[in-house]
Symmetry: C2
Subunit: 336 residues, 2 copies
DNA sequence: CTGTTAGCGCTTTCAT
DNA sequence: ATGAAAGCGCTAACAG
């Protein structure tokens, strides 16, 4: 249980060579004789030598760590994205530090501060539902740390973004409902500060218009994504003189909350009231009565793309890169 | 976008004092005059000074980082545990690095290697379903890094462990079924290398015995926790001459897989075949027909306890501590 | 109350 | 082909 790890210094002493020789040998620098290199490698292995990353950082100013900030690990969407992030990061030699904002602005601020103080090489973030001021993110860039937003990207902020074409997904979802002969379609959206919510709204409105249907502000609800708020808004929809026949929800969870309200009111979900949602989470496979359809957002792939972009930015001098990059991925409506 | 961060050296120069004065002032060392301390703090703030953790590590041989290794982030049980881990860790000034083994032995090995090479101060781990050789974990201890197992603790290995009293939970679950007049109860367990599986089996057998029921090896199935294997084992149970009337499953997911098999065979779950499971995951709240009851394991709290124990070990000299500690938490049967 | 100095483990320039 | 030495940012023993 000795809290001591082998260093190049020790290797150098045992071998009777200098520290710099060992350092170079370990980097397979050809300036060092083959024989010496072999001896160094051999001893390093038997001594269980592992380079000390802090020392390397001090020299190179790189931690080979990326910070990931997202609302909830518990949401399958995000844990799937993490898997994608982790796979790419580990393969490219980076570690991943994860923090949850729990959709709170102050947690988000703290997490970013902590990322900066631990000198992560880059940050991937999906913004909290509460956030509508991005100064803490600007601080990250001001600190010189590359930042990539994914999925929940901020509105009106130039930045690196990886997201999917929610607008198209919403359009396709509405089109699907219209194809079922539905006329009155409501939108149970998220908080208006998120661009992903604008997109849902745009896709919804575009489809409504294109197919000559009507909607009304009463059919368009904004929630803070919580169960409580969703229930309130759902009750409002059901209390309308002409309640909608179908609802497009921000994600699968909101659909499930809303479906519970339906049941309480004696309505059979997907029969008396149709549901289509976003995310297409694996958990819905377990449900007897999942939303009729859901817009698959390919969370894992978005994680992969975001990480590739981030590492690309980290490893390439700013001059050679365009100021900001945006990657937009396709969605796909999955009918259950 | 300057990739340069303030250092105490710069602060010292601007203030015309020595580096060590600044270092001490920043630590609020009373040996430094109040006035000086104030001036240092003020300048540090305006210069956005953030201490460089790598430099501190180099001195103190501490990274203030803990590595968490678990099977799947996607499983709510683990993501809830992470929340508990994160909350304690952040509060005590530690960062959290997460890795998933995906129940694979070689991923587990790699993740541990990576933890060691990044010199985490301690490791919290829940072992992979595949693992039945613990040499990679022994390597961690040999390296001098404190290790705490949680929930899926290894069998026959002395170590720090935080787990819950699965045996009692299993007993209570069987008792519950017996109270419903059920006679033939099967156990759909996990892989036998996990101690948590022994415990399920023990609790099951103890209850069967105590209430003078009978069971048979045919009623006791071991799975690798995958959906595929669960389906196979479930079909075997249903194909028996006298199929069980109720099944206790390793966790909620297995119950859901098994229930799907029932439905395919025309049986109504929880009517023709009763299900009781472990974990009591929030996702089951969304189900129309969740398992009849589930043994709550308080994942968040286990995460909290494991982290408290680990940090305790990290921060206290080995001499003052018992060699290994084991914390066993209570479970609670939740009837749905 | 404050400064000087050595050193944590490693890379890298400059010598040889 | 190899070594000496400086320095990354910080702490802490020692010296006033």
């Amino acid at each position: 249980m000795q809290r001591h790890q082998a260093t190049i210094k020790e290797i150098a002493q045992k071998l009777g060579v200098s520290i710099s020789t060992v350092s170079r040998a370990l980097q397979n620098n050809t300036r060092i004789g083959l024989r010496t290199r072999e001896r160094v490698w051999e001893l390093a292995k038997t001594m269980h030598y592992v380079p000390n990353p802090a020392a390397i950082f001090l020299k190179k100013n790189r931690t080979y760590t990326i910070g990931v900030l997202l609302p909830y690990l518990q949401e399958e969407f995000f844990s799937m994205a993490i898997s994608g992030i982790e796979d790419v990061a580990l393969e490219k030699g980076y570690n991943v530090v994860v923090s949850q904002s729990r959709d709170k602005f102050d947690r988000e601020e703290k997490a970013l501060k902590s990322f900066l103080s631990s000198r992560v090489d880059g940050v991937i973030a999906s913004v909290a539902a509460e956030t509508n001021n991005y100064s803490h993110f600007k601080e990250v860039e001001h600190f010189g740390t590359p930042l990539v937003f994914f999925d929940r990207v901020p509105r009106n902020l130039e930045a690196n973004k990886v997201r999917c074409s929610i607008t198209d997904g919403a359009f396709e979802a509405i089109e699907f409902l219209i194809g079922k002969g539905i006329k009155r379609i409501a939108l149970m959206n998220g908080p208006s500060n998120l661009e992903v919510c604008d997109e849902r709204l745009n896709g919804y409105l575009t489809a409504i218009k294109k197919f000559n249907l009507e909607t009304s502000p009463k059919y368009i609800k904004s929630t803070d994504l919580s169960k409580e708020d969703t229930i309130i808004k759902m009750k409002e929809l059901l209390a309308l003189e002409e309640p909608p026949e179908a609802i497009l929800t921000f994600n699968d969870y909101l659909a499930l909350y809303a479906m519970q309200v339906c049941k309480q009111k004696g309505l059979v979900p997907n029969k008396d009231m149709l549901f289509v949602s976003f995310a297409n989470l694996p958990m819905t496979f377990y449900l007897d009565n999942p939303p009729l359809a859901s817009v698959e957002q390919f969370a894992y792939n978005m994680g992969v793309k975001a990480t590739e972009l981030l590492i690309n930015i980290i490893e390439n001098p700013a001059e050679e890169m365009p100021p900001y990059q945006e990657i937009v991925m396709n969605t796909k409506l999955i009918v259950h």
